[in-house]
C-alpha cells in the first residue's frame, strides 16, 4: 500500500470507526458556520433594507423655483421622467382657491402617482363610514374608484378640509377660483397626517386649466432610492442639468436616515464581531479537545514509525475535510435563517450574495485549522511510551 493511499485510508477510517466523535466536531463547526453565515448575510443587506423603511416619509429631494421665480416649468418634469425614469416623482402646483367664502389650498398633482411617493396615505371612499379606509395604492389600483374617463374632472379632499366643510364622498362640490365656480365630484377623502390634510387635491392638468397657469409647477418632489451619497449624486446631476431650478435634499429625511443606517451598521458590525469571536472560541475548544482525546491513537502511530509531519497532516486533513462540509451546510442553514429573519422583519427577501460564501468557508476552515494545529503542536512532543502506558 502506498503512503498516499494509507493516508487517505486513515482519514476515511477516522470517520467510519468513530462517527460519534467526528459528529461532535462537525456539529460545533456547522453551528459556527451557521451563525457566521446568518450574521454576515444580514450585515451586508441590513442597511439597504432599513433605507427602504424610510420611504414611508415620502419625498427626499425637492426641485423648487430658484431666486425670485415662483414656478418651475413643466418641461423640466417631462425631461426628468425621460432622463431618470427609475426615480419616483410627483409634480405639484398650488393655488389658493375658495370654498364658499373660505380660502383653501388647491393642490394639483398627478393623482395616480401619489401612491408611489406616499405609500402611507389612506383614502376613505365610503360616504357613511369615515373610519373605513384603504391604502392609497389600493385606491388607485381598483378600477371603479378612478374616474370613468381620464378627461373628467374630479377631486380628493384632505381629511381636515372634508370635515371642515362637511363633505361626503360622492357629493358634487363647488370650488371657486378667480371669481368663477367649478363643480367637481368628490371621489375620496385622503388622510395623510401632514399639510395635505387641509388641501383639496385635483388633477394637475385641471388645476392648470382652471388657474390659467398651463405648463407651470410649484415644485417637483422626488423619492430617490438609496443612501445619502446616492441622493447627493442625483442632486448634483439635476442641479447641473437644470441650473434654472433649485434641487435641495429634505434634510430631516436624508440625515436621520443616514444616522440610523450608520448606527445599524455599527451595531451589526460590533455584534457580528462579538458573536464570531465566541463561535470561534467554542469551535476551537471542542475540536482541540477531540484531537487531544486521541492521544492514544497518536502514540500507536508514533510507535509504528509515523513521522510528526505525517501525523500532523493526518489530523489537519481530517479536521479540514469535516470543516469544508460543515461550512457548506452552515452557509446554507445560516442563509436560510437570515432569509427567514428578513422575511419576518422586512417582508422582503435577501438577495443572494456570492461573497458571503467564501467568507464563511474561509472563516470556518481557518478556525478548524487553528483548532487542529494547536493540539497537533502538542502531539509532536508526545512520548508514545508514556501515552500508551496510560498515565
Amino acid at each position: 500500500m502506498s503512503r498516499r493511499l494509507l493516508f487517505f485510508r486513515m482519514v476515511y477510517k477516522a470517520f467510519r470507526v468513530q462517527p460519534g466523535r467526528m459528529a461532535a466536531s462537525f456539529a460545533a463547526l456547522a453551528v459556527g458556520a451557521t451563525l457566521a453565515s446568518a450574521f454576515l448575510n444580514l450585515y451586508f443587506d441590513l442597511p439597504r433594507k432599513m433605507t427602504a423603511e424610510f420611504r414611508t416619509l415620502g419625498a427626499n429631494l425637492i426641485l423648487a423655483p430658484k431666486g425670485t421665480d415662483t414656478t418651475v416649468p413643466q418641461t423640466i418634469y417631462s425631461e426628468l421622467s425621460e432622463a431618470h425614469p427609475q426615480i419616483a416623482r410627483l409634480a405639484w402646483l398650488y393655488a389658493v382657491g375658495k370654498v364658499g367664502d373660505q380660502e383653501a389650498i388647491l393642490a394639483g398633482t398627478e393623482l395616480s402617482r401619489l401612491a408611489a411617493l406616499n405609500p402611507g396615505w389612506r383614502v376613505t371612499t365610503d360616504p357613511d363610514d369615515r373610519a373605513a379606509s384603504v391604502p392609497i395604492g389600493d385606491f388607485f389600483s381598483r378600477p371603479q374608484a378612478g374616474p370613468a374617463e381620464p378627461e373628467s374632472r374630479w377631486l380628493l379632499a384632505g381629511a381636515t378640509a372634508a370635515a371642515h366643510f362637511g363633505w361626503k364622498v360622492g357629493e358634487i362640490v363647488s370650488i371657486g377660483y378667480g371669481g368663477k365656480e367649478f363643480a367637481l365630484p368628490l371621489h375620496g377623502i385622503v388622510s395623510t397626517g401632514g399639510s395635505e390634510d387641509s388641501q383639496l387635491l385635483l388633477p394637475l392638468a385641471d388645476l392648470q386649466q382652471i388657474t390659467g397657469r398651463t405648463g407651470e409647477l410649484s415644485l417637483i418632489a422626488l423619492a430617490v432610492p438609496g443612501a445619502a451619497e446616492q441622493i447627493e449624486a442625483v442632486r448634483q446631476r439635476l442641479a447641473a442639468r437644470w441650473p434654472a431650478v433649485e434641487a435641495r435634499p429634505l434634510r430631516p429625511v436624508v440625515e436621520s436616515e443616514a444616522r440610523v443606517i450608520l448606527k445599524v451598521r455599527g451595531l451589526m458590525f460590533g455584534l457580528t464581531a462579538i458573536v464570531l469571536a465566541i463561535v470561534i472560541l467554542s469551535v476551537m475548544t471542542t475540536v482541540s479537545g477531540l484531537v487531544l482525546d486521541r492521544q492514544r491513537d497518536i502514540g500507536v502511530m508514533k510507535s509504528l514509525g509515523g513521522t510528526d509531519r505525517a501525523i500532523s497532516m493526518l489530523f489537519v486533513a481530517e479536521t479540514l475535510s469535516i470543516a469544508a462540509v460543515a461550512a457548506l451546510l452552515g452557509y446554507g442553514v445560516g442563509l436560510g435563517l437570515a432569509q427567514w429573519a428578513a422575511q419576518r422583519i422586512f417582508a422582503s427577501a435577501l438577495p443572494w450574495r456570492w461573497d458571503t460564501l467564501p467568507a464563511v468557508v474561509g472563516v470556518t476552515l481557518a478556525v478548524a485549522f487553528l483548532a487542529a494545529a494547536f493540539p497537533v503542536y502538542r502531539v509532536r512532543r508526545l512520548d508514545p511510551t508514556v501515552v500508551l502506558r496510560g498515565n
Partner: protein
C-alpha cells in the same frame, strides 16, 4: 470529605489552571450573552433618540379652528383668521404622565409679511412677500415643578443646517431685533449674514388708510436650510413676532417631539371601547395615541394629531430594530451556551481516570456527580458574575462607539445571567458524567 474534595479540586495548584480555564470560558460566554441582551434591551431607546432627527411627531392645533391654508407645514392664513393657543399654557406639556418622553417642543406663529432688503451702494432694495415665523429657538424653561429644560426648534430639528448664528431667545426684550432667513429667500433677496432687513407686517401701502403696516428693522444673523418650505421663510423669536402681529401670548401651532413605543394591535384600538384595566394600561404606555390624548388633556381647547409619516417611520424602524436585536441576542446566547457546555464537558472527559479511581475506591455515583456538579456550580457562579460585569463593559464600549452614549446597566439581568450560566455549565457537566458512569472503572484505569 466531600467539601475537602471540592476545595482540593478547585485550589490544588495542579487544578488551578484548569479551574481558571473553566471560569474563563463561562466568563466569556456570559459576557457575550449579557452584552447582547443589554444592547438589545436598550436599542429601542437609543434608535428612538436617533429618529428624533425626523422632527416633530405630534402637532398641536386649536380645536375650533378655521381651515388651515397650509403647504409643507407653513400656514399662510392672515393673522385675523382662525384660532390660537396660549403660549403661557405650554408649560403644562411637561406635566403630563409621559413628560419625560416629551423630548422637545416649539410653538409657531405664522405671520404673512414683506421683507425689504436695505439698499446698498449699487443695489436696489429688494422686496419679497414671505411668512414670518415666530418661534422658540433654544429657550431655557422651568417647569412648574422646578425642572430645568431647554426647548425650541434647535432640539426639535437637529438636522436643520445653519450658516451664521442662531437667535438667542433668552436675550432681554430690548435687545436689537434679529431674524433668520431661509436660504432660498436670502438668495432671492441677495441678502447675506450681517445685513439688515426691514420687516413689514400688515396691509400693503395705500390699500387701507386705517391700519398702517407695522415695521421693524432686524439684523440677519443666520441663514437656515432644511430642504423644505422653511427655506423660503423668515424666522424670529416669538417675543418679537407677537407684538408685530398684534397677538400677544398667541401661537398658531405647537410641534412636539415625543419618544414613543411602536404601535401594535392594542394601541390601534379605540380607547372608548377599552375596559378600565385596558384603559389604564393604554394610558400608562408611551403610545403616540396616549401621548396625544394626554396633551389634549393638558391643553384644553386643542387637538393633537400625529404627524403620521414621521410617527409611522419611527414606529417601523424601531419595531424592526428591536426584533432584529432580540433575534441576534438569542443567536448569541445559543453560541455562548454551546461554547460553555462544550468546555465543561471537555473538563469532565479529561478527568475520566480520576472518576474511575474514585469509583474504584468505593465512591457512590451520586458522590462523584455531586463533586463535579459542585465544582461546576462554583465555576458557573464565579464566571457568571465576572461575565456579567465584563458584558456590561462590552455593552458600554459598543454603546459609546456606536451611539456616543452609555447603554443603561440593567441589574435585573444579573440573576438571569447567573441562572443561565449555572444551567449551561450543569448541562455541560451532566451529559459527559452520564457517559463516564457507564464505563467500568477497571477498563478506564487500564487505559482503554
Amino acid at each position: 470529605m466531600f467539601w475537602r474534595l471540592v476545595r482540593e479540586s478547585l485550589w490544588r495548584p495542579r487544578n488551578r489552571r484548569r479551574a481558571a480555564w473553566a471560569v474563563l470560558a463561562v466568563t466569556l460566554g456570559t459576557a457575550v450573552a449579557a452584552a447582547m441582551l443589554n444592547v438589545s434591551l436598550d436599542v429601542g431607546d437609543k434608535v428612538g433618540r436617533e429618529l428624533r432627527a425626523l422632527g416633530a411627531n405630534v402637532l398641536v392645533t386649536p380645536a375650533a379652528d378655521s381651515l388651515p391654508v397650509e403647504i409643507g407645514g407653513i400656514d399662510y392664513r392672515p393673522v385675523s383668521e382662525g384660532a390660537f393657543i396660549s403660549e403661557t399654557a405650554l408649560g403644562s406639556l411637561k406635566e403630563i404622565f409621559w413628560r419625560n418622553n416629551i423630548m422637545a417642543f416649539a410653538p409657531f406663529l405664522y405671520v404673512p409679511a414683506r421683507l425689504v432688503s436695505a439698499s446698498g451702494p449699487g443695489s436696489r432694495p429688494q422686496e419679497q412677500a414671505t411668512t414670518l415665523v415666530g418661534t422658540w429657538f433654544d429657550r431655557p424653561f422651568v417647569t412648574p415643578k422646578g425642572e430645568r429644560f431647554r426647548t425650541g426648534i434647535r432640539p426639535l430639528n437637529p438636522t436643520w443646517a445653519l450658516e451664521g448664528n442662531w437667535i438667542d431667545d433668552s436675550a432681554p426684550a430690548n435687545a436689537p431685533p434679529q431674524v433668520l432667513l431661509g436660504r432660498s429667500l436670502a438668495e432671492a433677496m441677495a441678502v447675506r449674514v450681517g445685513d439688515s432687513v426691514r420687516i413689514l407686517v400688515g396691509p400693503e401701502a395705500g390699500e387701507s388708510d386705517v391700519a398702517k403696516p407695522r415695521e421693524v428693522t432686524a439684523a440677519v444673523v443666520g441663514l437656515v436650510s432644511t430642504g423644505g418650505a422653511e427655506d423660503r421663510q423668515a424666522f424670529a423669536s416669538l417675543a418679537l413676532v407677537q407684538p408685530l402681529a398684534g397677538l400677544p401670548d398667541q401661537v398658531r401651532t405647537v410641534q412636539v417631539s415625543a419618544l414613543t413605543k411602536p404601535e401594535d394591535e392594542f394601541s390601534r384600538r379605540d380607547p372608548k371601547t377599552m375596559t378600565r384595566e385596558e384603559y389604564d394600561r393604554w394610558y400608562c404606555s408611551p403610545y403616540i395615541s396616549s401621548i396625544q390624548h394626554q396633551i389634549t388633556e393638558a391643553l384644553p381647547g386643542t387637538a393633537a394629531r400625529a404627524v403620521r409619516p414621521v410617527a409611522e417611520t419611527q414606529g417601523n424602524v424601531l419595531g424592526k430594530m428591536t426584533f432584529l436585536m432580540g433575534l441576534l441576542a438569542v443567536l448569541a446566547l445559543i453560541a455562548a451556551a454551546l461554547s460553555i457546555s462544550s468546555l465543561a464537558s471537555l473538563a469532565v472527559a479529561e478527568r475520566r481516570q480520576e472518576i474511575a479511581l474514585m469509583k474504584a475506591v468505593g465512591a457512590q455515583e451520586w458522590l462523584v456527580s455531586g463533586l463535579f456538579l459542585a465544582e461546576a456550580a462554583a465555576h458557573g457562579i464565579l464566571g457568571g458574575v465576572l461575565g456579567f460585569l465584563a458584558g456590561q463593559g462590552l455593552a458600554r464600549v459598543l454603546g459609546r462607539v456606536v451611539f456616543g452614549s452609555d447603554v443603561a446597566v440593567n441589574w435585573l439581568l444579573l440573576p438571569v445571567m447567573l441562572l443561565v450560566a449555572l444551567a449551561v455549565t450543569f448541562a455541560g457537566t451532566w451529559l459527559p458524567l452520564r457517559r463516564v458512569a457507564r464505563f467500568q472503572p477497571a477498563t478506564v484505569l487500564r487505559g482503554e
